[in-house]
């Protein structure tokens, strides 16, 4: 391993960390502004031009609040909970490919912190550990509402992880790789000219997996909402029943960590949806740009495309939040276990049959 490689990866990790933080910071602002717009209001627009300094004001508020620790038997776990939730939320961004490769002075740089061949499994593993952050925090609060919220959160996340994993299997059967970069490269461009093979003739079809695996996309999308505890599945923190859910007892920056980590989770899951189903850094006409203008230009446009898709995903989360009412808990469990999981299994079987018949 040469020194340039370490330098290059360090820069990428730093930039990814900074961008993740920035986007999560402005998601909190975006949430408030979009919420207002969906309700025919204007939202915060006083702090700085267009209210753009509002997140800083919120941050200052969070830091200067009293850091209250309730009378709990285990202070260490109470502090450890938000720390763990935040850490796991940040770790999963390490395997996400933000762009193709840049060529600078004869050196090829992949815009990704780590291209591991089991990236999807890694993400799923890290996300499952995230449940511990909620569970530990809720349990250590020594408060029945927090505990109820934490139990709800963990059972919800565990049940929806099953359907999410099953829906991904159908995608993996088509992509034949677990590496996120590999999956994105399989969705090259926008139209796959050899997508469907009938006899000796090929028919074109869109190369993005949302067109090849629409059902898997739908299941994954619904599960992603449940995994990030967003409306309509925001039962862990529903104010009307549980005061504040698992973070009822938290204040100051510990609460800030929980809320912030949720926005990071939202960003990462939007990025995952973009990677798995919307072709990540692929965009129509990327080959033309690459051949006529240059590889670096094509890559930078691809990074733009990736972020555009991700940001639209975040907007979509907020859009759904102000449209759909919260599910009841039994409805949530019914949807997860009785509808999404069977659907995902059917999808696997159908995909398997299609793959088998088209490859022979």
């Amino acid at each position: 391993m040469d020194i340039l490689f370490i330098l290059e990866k360090s820069v990428i990790i730093l930039v990814v960390f900074a961008i993740t933080m920035l986007i999560a910071l402005y998601s909190t602002f975006g949430e408030r502004v979009f919420a207002a717009y969906f309700q025919d209001r204007l939202g915060p627009n006083r702090a700085g031009p267009l209210g753009l300094l509002q997140p800083l004001a919120d941050g200052v508020k969070m830091f200067t609040k009293e850091d209250f620790i309730p009378d709990t038997p285990n202070k260490f776990l109470f502090i450890f909970g938000p720390f763990m939730f935040m850490t796991t939320a940040l770790i999963s961004s390490s395997v996400i490919p933000w762009g193709d490769k840049l060529v600078i002075m004869g050196r090829t740089i992949q815009l990704q912190a780590a291209d591991i061949n089991v990236a999807i499994l890694f993400v799923f593993g890290v996300v499952s550990i995230g449940v511990y952050g909620i569970m530990i925090g809720g349990w250590a609060s020594n408060n029945k509402f927090s505990l109820l919220g934490a139990v709800r959160a963990s059972s919800q996340m565990i049940s929806y992880e099953v359907a999410m994993g099953l829906s991904i299997i159908a995608v993996l059967m088509v992509s034949e790789t677990l590496s996120l970069r590999g999956i994105v490269e399989k969705q090259h461009g926008f139209i796959d000219w050899t997508a469907i093979k009938i006899g000796n003739t090929y028919l074109p079809w869109f190369s993005w997996y949302v067109f090849k695996q629409p059902l898997a996309f739908l299941i994954f999308l619904i599960c992603a909402f449940a995994e990030t505890n967003r409306t309509p599945f925001d039962l862990p923190e529903c104010e009307s029943e549980l005061v504040g859910g698992y973070h009822t007892e938290y204040s100051s920056m510990k609460l800030g960590f929980y809320l912030f980590a949720e926005y990071i989770n939202m960003f990462i899951s939007s990025a995952l949806i973009a990677l798995l189903f919307f072709g990540g850094f692929n965009y129509p006409g990327m080959d033309w740009v690459s051949n006529n203008i240059g590889v670096n230009a094509a890559t930078l446009l691809g990074v733009g495309a990736m972020f555009a898709k991700t940001l639209f995903g975040i907007f979509f989360y907020m859009w759904v939040r102000w449209t759909v009412a919260r599910f009841r808990y039994d409805q949530l469990m019914n949807l997860g276990w009785k509808i999404l999981i069977p659907l995902a299994i059917v999808n696997i079987v159908v995909t398997g049959a299609v793959v088998l018949f088209t490859t022979n």
Binding site: F38, Q39, R41, V320
Partner: protein
């Protein structure tokens, strides 16, 4: 036998159907799409917000706000402390004491009798405007302004220094 289900005294009764949902309705997704269309339409709508300190909502011309004790065209107070406003006040918010005009005060008070103190308790006042109607001298009026907030109850008892029209004020 009367069909009780069809009775509607208001004539606006709607029959609620208890049929099972169709397959499309059970899918739930078309309804969500429709709802998202509605929220998106609201997203691009003109906003109802009035940006308060810069923009102010127009009051109705008959809006009844803070009181004012008028002066006549020479700048003399019109009020003669007759007490009709206090009498008519349903909230008993107005108190006053009267005094006789001294020599040389003709430019200050219009008639021989005037109100030496005049107090309205803004916490009692219901802004009904009956004082305005009762006044025979056209001395008290309700303006378009609001009574501002205060930290203490005493601050809401408005004396003459707050009620009497300022001399440089344009004629209302």
């Amino acid at each position: 036998m009367t069909d009780y289900k069809s009775i509607s005294l208001s004539g606006r009764k709607k029959d609620v159907s208890e049929r099972d949902m169709t397959f499309m309705e059970k899918l739930y997704l078309p309804a969500i799409m429709k709802g998202m269309g509605i929220t998106l339409r609201h997203f691009f709508r003109p906003k109802a917000t009035i940006q308060y300190p810069e923009q102010k909502r127009e009051f109705s011309p008959v809006f009844r706000g803070r009181h004012i004790l008028m002066r006549d065209e020479n700048g003399a107070e019109r009020c003669t402390a007759c007490g009709l406003c206090a009498l008519s006040c349903p909230a008993e918010a107005i108190t006053m004491t009267s005094a006789e005009r001294e020599k040389g005060e003709e430019n200050l008070y219009r008639e021989e009798k005037y109100a030496s103190t005049y107090e309205i308790n803004m916490l009692r006042c219901i802004f009904c405007g009956l004082c305005e109607e009762a006044c025979p001298k056209e001395a008290i009026f309700l303006t378009q302004d609001m009574a501002p907030a205060d930290y203490r109850r005493e601050g809401f008892i408005y004396g003459k220094e707050k009620l009497v029209m300022k001399i440089e004020d344009p004629k209302k």
